[in-house]
Each structure stands twice: as C-alpha cells, then as structure tokens.
Subunit: 339 residues, 2 copies
C-alpha cells in the first residue's frame, strides 16, 4: 500500500472532527479556531524504552500514546481538543500493524472527544509515537498549574496508586510470576497489567477538580513522590504526604511481597498511574469529593501543604510517627527518561 | 547531568516567549491564548532516515527539525507561533550534544519569532525529533490551503529548485565528488549542501502570498511534481507546469551531469527545497511579484491551472512542445517516508 493510501485509511478510521476544527488532517496544517485559552503538551512512546511489542498489543500501544499525552491535559483541567501524531514505523511493521496502532489512537480519541487533526508518518528504527495534544478552556486562568499550592491546602489523589508499577513487574519480572494467579487471583493480575498497558487519562476528574478550586495539579507519571516534588518546587511549598493514607491498589501488596520490595515504593515511586495529585483549599474539599463521587472516581486526602521553612520547597512522604520514608527510585523498571 | 537540570539548561537558551504564550515549558502543558485562528502541523526527523550525523552537525539537525515544520506554516500563510518538541536521545549522544541540538532549535526559533513552549525528552535508539508547530492568523479564512486553485490561476514558485537534491547528491554519492570544486566551484557546492542541511522556511513569503490572494499553496517537501499533484487533487484541477520555466538553482545542472541524471529530475522530483508553490489569480500576479521582490525572494511563473477534463485532477510537467516529461521518483536518494 502506498503512503498516501495508508494515510487515507488511517484518516477514515478517526472520529469526526470537533467544533473547533475548521480543517483537519490532509493539508499542510490543520486549522482550528480555539475561541479561548489552549493548553498544549507533547509526549512520546518509544519501543524498547517505554514498551515492548512482546507484552503490549499494537492497539494498546496506540491507545497509551494518546492517553498519556491527554493525561497532561487532565492535570490542567482542560477539555480535550485536538491531537497531532507522529508515527515512526519500523520495517517489520506491516500496513495491518500500522492500522492497528491507528485504531488504538482513534479509539481513545473517540472515547475522550479528541480530534486527531494532523499527523506525520515516517520510517523509524523502532515503533515510535510522539503525540501533541491541545485542550481548551474559556480563559487561561481556568487551567490549573503546578504552582498554586498554598499552606493549608489539602493534598488529594484520584483513584488508586501502585497498580501500573505492579503491572509492569508482572509483565517484566519473571520472578514475580509465582504470585500471579495464586496469592493474587487472575482478575487482579489482569487489572494490574491493564493499568500499565492501557492507562486512562482522568479528564473528567481533572476538569471537576479545576472547577472545584484546585490550586495546583499534576498527573502522576514519574511517581507520586517525584511529581509531588515538582508541585512543591513550582509552588515554593512543603508537601507532606502521609504514607499510611495512600490508596494502594488491590494486588500491589502481594506483588511487592513476591519481589521483596515495599508496597509503598510501588505506590509512591512507581509512576505511570496517571492519577491526579491536587492541592485543594480546605473549604473546597467536601464539594470536590462529592463531585468526584458522582463521576465514580475515588478521591483520597493523602496529606497537606505546609510552609517550606528556610526556603527549601520539597515533598516528604512520612510514615506514622512522622519520620520521612525513604523512597527508592524505580528507574530500573521504568527507563522512561534518558537519565 | 540529571534530566531536569538538562531540561533547565535547554529552556534557558530559548528565546523569550511571544505575546500569545501565558505559560511556557515546565508545567504539565503550555498555555496560550491565540485570539484567532491557529494552523498546526507536525514533522519528524529521524537519524538514518532523514539525516546522518556524519554529514550534518548537531546544530544543523536541530535547525532542520524546526525549519521543516515551520515550512508547513509558511505554506498556510501563517505567522509562526509556538513549537512543541519531542527529542529522542540515543545513548551515545552526551549532554553537550543534546544542548547543541537544542541550540539549533533555539536559533531558528529566535530567527523566526517562534516560542518553544513545550517539550519531551526521552531515550530513543537513534537521534529523533518530532516538532509540532502552531501558526496564527486573525481568521481561519486567512490561511491558504491546497484546495483553492482555480482554472486560470497562474502557478508560481519562490526561490530556486533542485538545490536540496543536488546537495544531497554531493553529501551522499561519492561518485559525484569529482564535480565538487572543479566544474562546480566550492562556494556553489557549499550552497547546495547548505540547502539540504539547513533549509529556510519561507515564512515571510508565505504570509505575503496569502495576503496577495493566493488561492492554494504548498511547500515543496516531496518534490515539485508530487506536491503540485497534491494541490491538483485537493483543488480538483489540472496543474500544467512548464519544464523550461523552472528556476533551477546554480550548480544543479553540473551535479546532474556528473551523476548522469536530468537536472529536471532534481528540480521537479528532488524535494526538500522548502520553496512555496502557489496558485495566484492573474490579476494578483503583478502585486505578488512586487511584494516578494521587496522581500528579496524571487517569484517565478512556472505554469497555470486548467480544468481537469474527465474529472482526472493531476499535475503535469511539460517540456517544450507540450509533451509530458516523465519525472522519475527520487526516493532512492530521499528515504523520507516509509513507503
């Protein structure tokens, strides 16, 4: 199949364009009329770095590439708008394979109301995707950045933590295989793997937390401790996280036990959960919890924002008694970044 | 150096943010308030596919990645706005090398008034960049697409053709080395290589042609014949190009002679010249030529738009006498696309 025919087939499978798109894929550039403020983020997924074709289906790879990009928009409280996708295709991926990747992208686009408005298709040594996404809000101030957390705010997190890291252990570490199906149960093991392979961007929760008055927000891609550190640095505050309050996903404890690590490490440093960490003024907490309950998304208070004494903004994960829990890096399992 | 320290250094070297940028790189997403219509395009550059580190400097690679993306905005008549960059770094590229690539990106951003508003840095097997760029105009109708060419319009092209292909021949084909410095002259050979390694997006010319009333426009990345074909298909018209009218760059003829190909093939099928092909109503031609002369950009009439008889829109390159000149593909020299 020729390049342009293949692009045509890819385009055919995309959902219809949203109202802000005046000209979609197929010209030199897409044309949109945002009519307000735009949040834009780019995220990449590279074979051998972020996934293996042995453990993820092509459709899952396409889904994850756009989902992780959209997760950054969720963390801004943005309504998803458009996606622009570079797809780097290796020699050993045939047309059907490329269409499978495209079907995964298209499915998440349809589920989230995102328009895939442009793309580029080239050769690459390994299957690679870079996805730039745009999200919308009436005004720039409607977006929630990392920098607004204030002393007295409560720290909240959506959903459950540690699942993606535990899922990665199950996928990658054969020594953890013993736990799978025995102590764990096949359904829970499958759920953990799905959290690693096919994460869900918390778009509705992000918009709701923004509307509820969140002062700062970030998606948990690098791990709760690290991402809380980013909020602390941007906000110039001390973020205190109560280790015992973390909503640890079912099965994480068993996977941790089977591999000899602390469940807290999977939950606080594992990353890729794509849950949202937000700071909320105390008087906004009850309404936010109620609104998220209506979405079916758990919201857990896991700590508080304090003044950074001595001008040393940072995040601390504290166990009962108050001492800081050392969180080992999880990088050996997640070679996401180059260093 | 740590990832975040390196990102900080990359950010420091970027030009100041433009007026539409409310929040630049460093949060979950950048925030812009476009205030009008936006054109967005994504383009990728992959080592071994689009360049070799043996023949291009790291700075040139950074420059070309953003320049080729901006060329798509030039073809819309857009004013450059923001760029979002994924940089995939191989193991053998050290921090200084990454900063060199970043310096190339930053230099073109500064030269063109583009804000690098976001990015992602990950590992990749080879040096890879995907650059998404946004451009602006007051209204969506201000942008020039590929689909408005009408019978009677003149076809015009900016600058000179064939230089990038001839430059690639000089860089890649050792049998062409004999021509370099002898028949050709070192200055002309250097200029041809520079057209391949460091193309200039025709942003001012694109805006000027749009303002002058261009009905269709495209940048010449795949080769004049192929790109004219895209305009023909999108516009439902026949594009007739006069082979003898093509403004062939100095040195192209000598390189073609040395390698046994037709200069017309380098000029019409070589691609990567990143000049603009536009359709202009006859009554807009004189003003457009005058406006481009004021920019110092040559504008050459190379053909005309005719009615596509029998509903068969296409582009034809005709030699004197009217017969269609067969244009061989140039793909063996430019493995830009996967097929």
């Amino acid at each position: 199949m020729g390049e342009f025919e293949l692009l045509g087939l890819l385009r055919e499978r995309l959902p219809a364009a949203g109202p802000q798109v005046r000209l979609g894929s197929g010209d030199d550039a897409a044309v949109t009329v945002p009519g307000g403020a735009v949040a834009t983020s780019v995220d990449a997924l590279v074979e051998g770095v972020h996934f293996r074709r042995e453990s993820a289906t092509l459709r899952q790879i396409g889904r994850k590439a756009i989902s992780t990009a959209l997760s950054d928009l969720a963390a801004m409280g943005a309504a998803p708008g458009e996606a622009y996708v570079w797809l780097g295709a290796p020699e050993d991926l045939d047309d059907e394979g490329l269409l499978e990747v495209g079907a995964g992208l298209a499915a998440v686009a349809a589920e989230t109301g995102t328009t895939v408005a442009g793309g580029d298709l080239t050769r690459a040594p390994v299957l690679s995707l870079a996805v730039t996404v745009t999200g919308h809000a009436p005004d720039a101030d409607d977006f929630v950045t990392r920098s607004g957390a204030r002393p007295g705010d409560a720290l909240v997190v959506t959903g459950e933590l540690g699942a993606a890291a535990a899922g990665l252990v199950l996928l990658e570490d054969s020594s953890a295989g013993a736990v799978d199906g025995q102590d764990l149960g096949a359904a829970i093991a499958d759920a953990l793997r799905a959290r690693q392979l096919d994460p869900t961007p918390r778009l509705a929760a992000g918009k709701t937390l923004a509307a509820a008055g969140a002062t700062a927000m970030i998606d948990i891609s690098d791990g709760l401790a690290g991402d809380a550190g980013h909020v602390a640095t941007s906000s110039g505050a001390l973020l205190v996280i109560d280790a015992d309050a973390l909503p640890i996903a079912p099965g994480v404890e068993q996977v941790a036990a089977a591999t000899g690590c602390d469940p807290l490490e999977l939950a606080a440093a594992g990353g890729e959960d794509y849950e949202l960490l937000a700071a909320l003024p105390a008087d906004a907490l009850a309404a936010a919890q109620e609104a998220l309950a209506a979405l079916g998304v758990p919201l857990t208070v896991i700590g508080r924002v304090e003044t950074a004494e001595g001008g040393n903004p940072r995040a601390e994960v504290r166990r009962r008694g108050g001492e800081a829990a050392p969180i080992r890096g999880f990088d050996q399992l997640r070679p996401r970044k180059p260093r």
